[in-house]
């Protein structure tokens, strides 16, 4: 589904490339976690997948299309939620649909085959947000805000979900709750997931494949298979803890 082909990327204020002729492939419905030390390029990589950054050379292809701008069928979830503070939960959930109706099905801002639907109630309901529908984001807890951001993205029926440390500022129970939700999105809806995290436990719980980035330049994709991930009972099992330990020691040597 995603083919990262020989990309190089250097920030203008740096001499060292974050990525140097880097290749990486993601198949449909895979769940990837991306982990690495601060400054390793995790977010840069995710932003290139999201079409918010373009590589200096090489191409990012999703379904054979080069990604030069945000793709209508990709959803992005950020750590700080990205909700409009002046809009209610319902208005925030409808934002993507309003943007699409502003442009119409032009294939750039909205998929060409988009159906006109107003079924966003379902995601509000399914994520338990109905009772907050008329509240503003400032009145919600962090976990609830992130749920709104997820509902907003899911209303656009994405086939790829890109998440940048989405749960790192949440309390433990909200975090585990939303991690479980992410697992079900992959399993039930076949959404492809790429999740950037600095939490080893989160990477091992969610990533059926874990991409490990190191201090730049990154030249070769290093990844670990983790087929047990996505099982809600996986946390605290011996294989889970063992893989966490392996990953911890790998990251420690980087």
């Amino acid at each position: 589904m995603i083919h990262i082909d020989n990309i190089s990327f250097t920030y203008t204020d740096s001499n060292i490339p974050v990525f140097n002729q880097y290749n990486w492939d993601i198949q449909r419905s895979e769940a990837w976690a991306v982990i690495g030390p601060s400054g390793c390029g995790k977010t840069t990589l995710l932003y290139m997948l999201a079409g918010l950054l373009t590589p200096n050379s090489g191409t990012v292809l999703i379904d054979q299309d080069p990604i030069l701008r945000p793709r209508p069928k990709s959803g992005l979830i950020l750590q700080d939620y990205g909700l409009l503070p002046w809009a209610t939960v319902r208005e925030n959930c409808e934002l993507g649909l309003k943007i699409r109706s502003l442009y119409g099905a032009d294939g750039i801002h909205a998929p060409r085959d988009q159906r006109l639907f107003n079924s966003n109630e379902t995601w509000l309901e399914q994520l338990g947000l109905e009772e907050f529908a008329d509240k503003f984001p400032g009145q919600l807890s962090g976990g609830q805000r992130q749920r709104v951001a997820i509902a907003r993205t899911l209303n656009l029926e994405p086939d790829l979900l890109l998440m940048d440390e989405p749960f790192s500022s949440l309390d433990v129970s909200s975090r585990e709750n939303l991690q479980d939700l992410s697992v079900s999105l992959v399993d039930e809806f076949g959404i492809t997931l790429v999740l950037v995290t600095h939490s080893i436990e989160e990477a091992v719980f969610l990533g059926r494949k874990i991409l490990v980035l190191k201090k730049p330049p990154n030249e070769k994709a290093i990844f670990i298979d983790n087929s047990e991930a996505g099982n809600l009972q996986y946390r605290n099992t011996p294989p889970f803890l063992k893989l966490c330990q392996i990953l911890r020691s790998q990251l420690g040597t980087i």
Partner: protein, 247 residues
């Protein structure tokens, strides 16, 4: 509770005023009852109402002109670092100048009619709105913009759903902060060679007709104009920026 307090304050001010009028006991300080009687009679039988409406029109026209010009420029500067760097020194020099000093110059250029007065109000509000909208637009978090862009938003949708609503409170704050100054400067402007407006009315009643109760009535009308604008803006903000007032 708020209204009760307001009423008590108004009564207290009037009490002190009445006491001062009794102590001074001169025609240049009539008591509040005399003044309020004069205010109503001037309003309904005299021409105070017309003068009030003329001043109100000048304030609203200047305000409207400032909003429709300063907001887009502020938005543009807030979004473009390069443009902002280019224009900042100019704003830095012009912003702190007390705009009242421009009154004679503006009158030289635009005459003594309505236009000059509207432009004076416009200049006072323009810089305030420009600076606040620019800062507000520049402070919109990049994460918010990225996240809305990822939903498919291009420039048009970003303006409609992010920049425009984000800058509304800045526009209203700017108006609230400077409407008092604008009314004060309007008073100065209306002293010069005009026969309409509250400034003219106050001056004419006091210095030419020596009708002090009517002059004080004019002062109250001008206060009501300033206060009314202030509370009006506050009311609008509570209606259209509800998110700022929720707990």
């Amino acid at each position: 509770m708020e209204r009760r307090r307001l009423l008590i304050t108004i009564l207290a001010v009037m009490g002190i005023w009445e006491l001062a009028a009794l102590v001074v006991h001169r025609s240049i300080l009539p008591g509040p009852i005399t003044v309020i009687t004069a205010l109503f009679s001037e309003l309904f039988r005299g021409k105070l109402g017309i003068h009030f409406l003329v001043s109100l029109w000048r304030v609203i026209a200047g305000m409207g002109l400032a909003i429709i010009t300063a907001s887009p420029i502020g938005l543009l500067l807030g979004q473009s670092k390069r443009l902002n760097q280019l224009v900042t020194p100019l704003i830095y020099i012009l912003y702190p100048i007390p705009k009242v000093v421009f009154v004679p110059i503006i009158m030289l250029f635009f005459g003594i009619g309505d236009l000059a007065k509207v432009i004076i109000i416009f200049i006072i509000l323009f810089f305030q709105i420009l600076v606040l909208v620019r800062d507000q637009a520049a402070n919109i978090r990049q994460e918010l913009i990225n996240s809305v862009r990822s939903l498919g938003a291009g420039r048009r949708a970003l303006f409609r759903f992010v920049y425009f609503p984000a800058t509304l409170p800045a526009i209203l704050t700017a108006l609230r902060q400077s409407v008092g100054t604008a009314v004060a400067v309007l008073y100065i402007a209306e002293l010069f060679a005009t026969q309409k407006g509250l400034g003219y009315y106050i001056y004419f009643q006091g210095s030419t007709l020596f009708n002090y109760p009517a002059m004080y009535g004019g002062v109250i009308a001008m206060s009501i104009l300033g206060l009314g604008m202030y509370f009006g803006i506050d009311w609008i903000e509570r209606r259209i920026c509800k998110w700022l007032f929720v707990t």
